[in-house]
């Protein structure tokens, strides 16, 4: 069969297509109450978010057009849409990027809506503070979390070692590691992953010394001496077989959770975050829990802080800022929304919502909630948002240098010096 199309038919078809194309912007304009939302996360987060969106549409009549991406794809997409003057109305924002986006007006200040469209009267003060840049509110925290070590309880039981608790120190971990070595469980599982390339772990360690990774001015908050001490400590742990070896640690590319040391069964604990316990538990047959990062010495605390795990912000070019602010208000205050969300994005920041959510949580979620609520003397002040180049220092300096030490391409001494010079150079270049 042959298909023929005379000129008239062709023109007719073309006109129809053009007509449809011309109509669609009009169709979009008709829906001016539609909010566009973009966030990073997986399917579980999307299901919960869509659940809240349905509740919101039912209560306000405004529709929410929501889409999500993985962390790595999210930032290029958001930056590209922002560059095109087409940013979504509601964007998910991270503590790492909020200053950059706020200072470039890529997200809008929300102060004018507070008290009217945006009700924050019962919002936790420290979480509210975390969303401010230069004194103005740019992000509403969607939950608090904290760094935490993921602990494989089953492995500790097999090794006959008492699992770590809030008083565990780095020295205690050495002792646990010796016990793991002598028991030799699961083909030589080590007690801990190699944390030398973990930015949060280094930050926590520095904070216990009264220092910080970055100062409020966006400079390095430590010197060569501390960096050398850090790499030396881990080199010894590696040499003594307390933590995993270089080759094994390098399997973790900071990408999929499946490639992490605890999930691969290479180590019984590793640095992680309180809200990730749920996600990790789904990947493991063993009973997992979380514990604090080790103390540098008995009785020394202040390394942890309650971090806004993520924010919702309103796009700078949004034409519907007030409706977006109202959505944010609903998202954090509505008890029914809270029930749908649980603690997947972190611990809710409104106490009334916490009270509604707490009884509904499963055992693992309860652990996360209690952990963040009871940090006690481990808790220190919220550090200032990191400088814009922090991500680059993490990816292309700290992790590379830590691998160079692990594989023997640099001494710990050399690595400490190099790390400080190189990180300073990256900060300099970004400034």
């Amino acid at each position: 069969m042959s298909m023929s199309l005379d000129r008239r038919q062709f023109l007719l078809g073309t006109t129809a297509v053009l007509g449809a194309a011309a109509l669609s912007p009009a169709a979009a304009l008709a829906q001016e109450n539609r909010l566009r939302q973009l966030f990073w996360g997986g399917q579980a987060r999307a299901d919960r978010t869509n659940g809240v969106n349905a509740l919101y549409t039912a209560s306000s009549g405004n529709e929410v057009e929501s889409s999500f991406l993985g962390w790595g794809d999210y930032w290029p997409k958001l930056a590209t849409e922002t560059a095109g003057g087409n940013s979504p109305d509601i964007v998910q924002m991270d503590y790492r990027f909020i200053v950059e986006y706020a200072r470039r007006n890529a997200i809008a200040p929300l102060d004018e809506f507070v008290g009217s469209a945006l009700n924050l009267s019962d919002f936790d003060a420290d979480q509210l503070e975390g969303g401010k840049v230069d004194g103005k509110l740019y992000g509403v925290s969607l939950g608090a979390n904290s760094v935490a070590q993921l602990v494989n309880l089953a492995a500790f039981a097999e090794a006959g070692v008492e699992p770590p608790n809030r008083d565990t120190t780095y020295d205690d971990i050495r002792a646990m590691g010796e016990a793991f070595k002598s028991k030799n469980i699961r083909g030589g599982m080590k007690v801990i992953a190699d944390g030398s390339g973990s930015e949060p772990m280094l930050d926590n360690w520095l904070r216990q010394k009264g220092l910080a990774l970055y100062t409020a001015e966006g400079k390095l908050g430590f010197t060569e001496a501390e960096a050398i001490e850090w790499f030396t400590m881990w080199s010894q742990m590696r040499a003594d077989g307390i933590c995993v070896d270089a080759e094994t640690q390098a399997l973790d590319t900071n990408g999929p959770l499946e490639n992490t040391m605890v999930i691969l069964g290479k180590a019984a604990m590793m640095p992680s975050n309180s809200n990730q316990l749920v996600a990790f538990q789904t990947l493991s047959q063993d009973d997992l829990t979380i514990s604090s990062y080790p103390r540098i010495a008995p009785g020394v605390g202040g390394g942890h802080y309650r971090k806004p795990s993520m924010f919702f912000s309103v796009g700078g070019s949004s034409s519907n800022k007030e409706a977006a602010a109202a959505y944010l208000s609903f998202f954090v205050n509505d008890p029914e929304a809270g029930k749908v969300l649980g603690v997947e994005r972190g611990i809710p920041c409104v106490s009334a919502v916490r009270d509604v959510v707490a009884p509904l949580l499963n055992a693992k979620d309860q652990i996360a909630l209690n952990f963040v609520a009871n940090l006690g003397d481990l808790l220190g002040a919220l550090p200032p948002p990191p400088p814009a180049a922090a991500g680059e220092i993490d990816v292309s300096v700290l992790r590379v240098v830590s691998q160079e030490v692990a594989f023997g391409a640099r001494t710990a001494e050399d690595a400490g010096k190099f790390f400080v010079t190189e990180a300073a150079a990256v900060l300099e270049r970004a400034a």
């Binding site: 590209t80 560059a83 490639n259």
Partner: protein
């Protein structure tokens, strides 16, 4: 008729002569151009436009959120004077191209020679051997490669049969790049198909003459097959070299986009991607892209220059 109107009509006539050329050209080719229009829109809008924009951006600092700032030659100067990662990524990419291209071509030629011996079920084998080329750049294969070459992966399980304890190939900086080279060689299908076609077009009478003279197989290969095949070798070498420089997906997936361990798989394209989409330095990334273009162009030009001395065209 007045003089004025005559001159006016002459002008009109003159105008008509000029426009006849265009209108005739239009009449002859209009349908063609019309049908090409979608392609033109794509070509100018999606190819030429972005290329020119990226050339402009390579002379600016641009972070996507704020307007580009003119930077003159800053990006290029930094690249050649003060960027360790540029040097590192260039070294990784060169190593990859220099080893993967010849090995892949040799492997492809070997398989093509084997298949050219007139075996049964040739179309099936051809399809099977071509399959990796279709799959090779995919995410799934890169993930599979991770599993195969991991510490307790398939390769080491096989080695364990002989009592050898293999390293974790993909996460050891001494071997990680080689796993990517092996992956590239495994995708030998498309040069193999081209070699096969080339082998088929070598006149049989040459082989007949050689066998009458009693030439050994080895000698036949070096004196007849290979020289006759040089145009195809040349074509494949150029295409594969360009592909090698552009290689991105496997390294991106296997190292989680970081080029780890210790930047041993930091391909040039991966570095470019990170500069653009992880650190939002679009200007610098554009400059990197243009330098890559220049390098590929130089390599290709060099190949064409040397081809005079080793490629035989039978004319």
């Amino acid at each position: 008729m007045t003089a004025q109107s005559i001159s006016a009509s002459a002008r009109n006539k003159g105008g008509a002569v000029g426009s006849t050329f265009w209108s005739r050209a239009w009449e002859n080719h209009a349908p063609g151009y019309l049908f090409l229009l979608p392609w033109f829109i794509g070509f100018f809008g999606l190819t030429i436009g972005p290329i020119i924009t990226s050339l402009y951006l390579s002379f600016t600092h641009f972070d996507l959120l704020t307007a580009p700032r003119w930077a003159g030659l800053d990006n290029y100067i930094r690249m050649f004077t003060n960027d360790r990662n540029f040097v590192a990524s260039m070294r990784v990419t060169m190593f990859f191209v220099i080893f993967s291209v010849p090995l892949k071509l040799a492997f492809a030629l070997g398989v093509a020679l084997l298949l050219n011996r007139g075996m049964r079920g040739l179309p099936l084998y051809r399809a099977l051997f071509y399959l990796p080329s279709l799959l090779g750049a995919s995410v799934a294969i890169a993930i599979l490669w991770r599993q195969i070459f991991a510490g307790d992966g398939l390769v080491n399980q096989f080695l364990a049969l002989f009592g050898i304890v293999g390293p974790s190939w993909i996460s050891n900086p001494n071997y990680s790049l080689w796993t990517l080279i092996v992956l590239s060689i495994w995708q030998f299908g498309s040069p193999m198909i081209i070699f096969l076609a080339g082998l088929r077009s070598i006149p049989q009478d040459m082989y007949e003459a050689a066998s009458l003279e009693g030439a050994s197989k080895w000698r036949v290969f070096w004196k007849i097959t290979l020289p006759m095949l040089t145009p195809v070798v040349f074509f494949n070498a150029i295409i594969q070299t360009i592909e090698g420089f552009k290689s991105f997906t496997p390294a991106f997936i296997i190292s989680g986009g970081t080029g780890s361990p210790i930047n041993s798989t930091l391909f040039y394209t991966l570095y470019l991607y990170n500069e653009a989409f992880s650190f939002f330095r679009m200007g610098y990334a554009s400059a990197l892209a243009w330098v890559l273009l220049a390098i590929v162009a130089v390599f290709t030009a060099f190949s064409f220059f040397t081809s005079k001395f080793w490629v035989h065209y039978d004319d």
